[in-house]
Symmetry: C2
Subunit: 419 residues, 2 copies
């Protein structure tokens, strides 16, 4: 058995974890590692002759069999990865953005060159997800995903709940602790989760989802009052990445906050933990949960991918047939306005008298059934705080209701997951 | 690409589900099916010439590549499976009892014949578990499992909680609904879960656990008062199959009821759903949950195993290297009396005065710290109902405490999972 030779691009925390963990496997050799600055002090003992600041020395090295890409981003990463594939190297990557934006080209190029691209670490960190979907669940027709895929936002929402604190307070604290970035946009506005659900849905549904068709709303408008009110009604508020597909290949893929019933495991998925609920036939419903990020969990997935390649590498010319992505269909996107959802509305009405009747009348005129409506007393200034939960109705219709309630202040509209 | 040929032993509900689901895969041919009675009417259209009442016609058929065993039990099933392996056939099985009792011989025989034995359906039904552990988690050193592996007992405990009903009432109802068998011993006394944790721990720890070393206690003594009391204290009572291993290969593997803190996802795993919490390095903690039994979920796992073999079958001589079980170490068992646990005790004391002090004194004399102690009023007959939760202590010591509390009635002792 000859040693399989690995090149790594990027030696940050995950790269360091991967390097350390691979030392125990005697049949795997790390040949070269590309870093930005060769002379930077590191808390891992890498022989200096293995380091390079030129990733092309890895992707063009005829001795290297597998390229592990841990630098992130699309430009110039795509150049490195596409060159590596043209040079017949297998790829292991944790790059969710590249997968979401370049997935179609990536998988076509890998098939053309009889190479595999593995990316377990890119979606839900350490949770076993992509490999199970592609292998042991391969006999299923999966048609629904509901997932918590971003640790930062789940941490913020959990802290707001536990500490009864505002979004701004918790974000500031999370930034101080390093759980949120200085510019938190990528996480709190849902881009990170949108990248992940794009690829996850594509793989689970065997049909390409395009990132630009993924509807996206973040958590920055969630108020602590919404979280309290949700609690009283039997829900937790979570940033949910969801995807469904029907039998005509129409896909509804989105990221937005939702009220999740406490009977669902996603409601009990707290702080930086991620969780993915999958449904399909014949399996029914399953939930996979665990650490969605971090040096060690991410290393677990990267190493799992490397081992999968290494174990088959010298016994077959066509390795890991189940892990290939050779579907060719593209899903038809469903516009958010055409979707049906339950809604939570928090309304401040200026005149307490008759307002319940008014809300009821407007909803009925748009064909919307009210599931529950709750008015908590009347304020000193004769305003009323009203919470409405609707039955499932058309997004377009609820927007019309909001427009017609122009005498009221709509504090929040949040979609509600069905129990 | 030539068609892979499958023989199935057993055409009950799972076998029927597998047969129907495999029809969509054009590269898989079901050649022969062994049934007890060829002429029995079935709700699936199987050509009569494919049926046989002699399983040896399958395991000795030189054309058959994979034997799918869905009949269960050890005798005569082991004869069929061992013959099939000697004849170089790959095996897919859902037989938890055979794996627990014959696993060691089974895996040795399969390696000798360069065959794989896959058994995803045998443990936790449809939940992706064995394949993820053997593949994407392969870089981890797993050292702890806590799991709900038996749907019948989880249904009974959930119903006792939801309906505030007794064990006997719920068991009777479950039997009428077909959720429990006429002789429920295999489920309610923990044998089924013990079979499953034997194999699951063996695979996760890469070290053979022997079934006879698995400690086992069932749920038939759980009272509805225990479930109520646990609820008030922030716990749910679940039948937990657990396994831990230390760095010296000492393994503590058991099945018994536990108080599970509501902060743990296992506490929210209800009715017939199963869940498996795994811990190790570098992954940390993950939880996989889903349907633990039933025609469709079981078929999902059986088909996943068959597809894994079928996809590699004609491209390599040594297929599925990661799915092989070629470890040779045997774990040293830890006796239950030598384990450390937290305990819940429900005590009826005949004389209310001074009883709290007495319990405290006896516990202290055995080096047991009391975490909480709760006396709810005094009954008319001057008895007191007392609930104690201890800190972690030696099982042997808690048994001594019980012996010394001979003037009291010990209603229940149940181990408590740490938060």
């Amino acid at each position: 058995m000859s040693k399989i030779k690995i090149g790594i691009i990027g030696l940050g925390t995950v790269g360091t974890g991967v390097y350390k963990s691979l030392e125990q496997f005697k049949d795997i050799e790390i040949t070269k590692i590309a870093v930005r600055n060769i002379n930077k002090p590191r808390n891992v003992n890498v022989p200096i002759e293995k380091l390079t600041d030129n990733p092309y020395e890895i992707v063009n090295d005829p001795d290297i069999n597998v390229v592990v890409e841990l630098m992130g981003g699309v430009d110039p990463t795509w150049d490195y990865i596409s060159t590596a594939l043209e040079n017949k190297k297998h790829i292991v990557t944790a790059n969710k953005e590249l997968l979401a934006k370049k997935g179609e080209e990536l998988f076509k190029l890998s098939e053309k060159n009889n190479c595999v691209v593995l990316y377990e670490a890119a979606i839900a960190g350490g949770i076993p997800l992509i490999m199970p979907i592609k292998t042991i669940l391969a006999g299923n027709k999966l048609n629904s995903i509901q997932a918590i895929l971003n640790g930062t936002t789940n941490y913020i929402l959990t802290k707001m709940d536990v500490d009864n604190a505002s979004y701004d307070e918790v974000l500031k604290e999370a930034q101080e602790l390093g759980y949120a970035e200085t510019d938190p946009t990528g996480d709190v506005e849902g881009y990170d989760a949108a990248y992940k659900i794009t690829t996850l849905a594509t793989i689970a549904f065997n049909s390409r989802i395009k990132f630009e068709n993924v509807y996206r709303e973040g958590i920055s408008k969630i108020r602590k009052e919404d979280i309290q009110q949700a609690n009283e009604l039997g829900y937790k508020i979570k940033l949910i990445a969801s995807a469904t597909i029907d039998t005509e290949n129409n896909a509804d893929v989105r990221v937005h906050p939702m009220l999740v019933p406490k009977s669902h495991l996603l409601a009990h998925t707290n702080f930086v933990t991620n969780a993915v609920a999958l449904s399909g036939h014949p399996i029914g419903n399953i939930v996979l949960s665990g650490p969605g990020a971090g040096e060690f969990p991410t290393a677990s997935s990267v190493i799992g991918d490397i081992l999968a390649i290494a174990r088959e590498w010298d016994t077959t010319e066509y390795l890991l047939p189940m892990m290939r992505c050779n579907h060719h269909s593209i899903a038809n996107p469903i516009e958010i306005n055409d979707t049906y959802n339950k809604y939570y509305l928090s309304i401040t009405a200026p005149h307490a008298i008759g307002v319940i009747a008014k809300i009821g009348t407007i909803c009925a005129s748009k064909n919307i059934s009210v599931s529950s409506i709750l008015q908590k007393g009347v304020q000193d200034n004769n305003t009323a705080e009203i919470t409405v939960i609707t039955e499932k109705c058309l997004e377009k219709s609820i927007k019309e209701v909001v427009k017609e309630l122009d005498s009221c202040t709509i504090n929040s509209i949040i979609r509600v997951m069905e129990g």
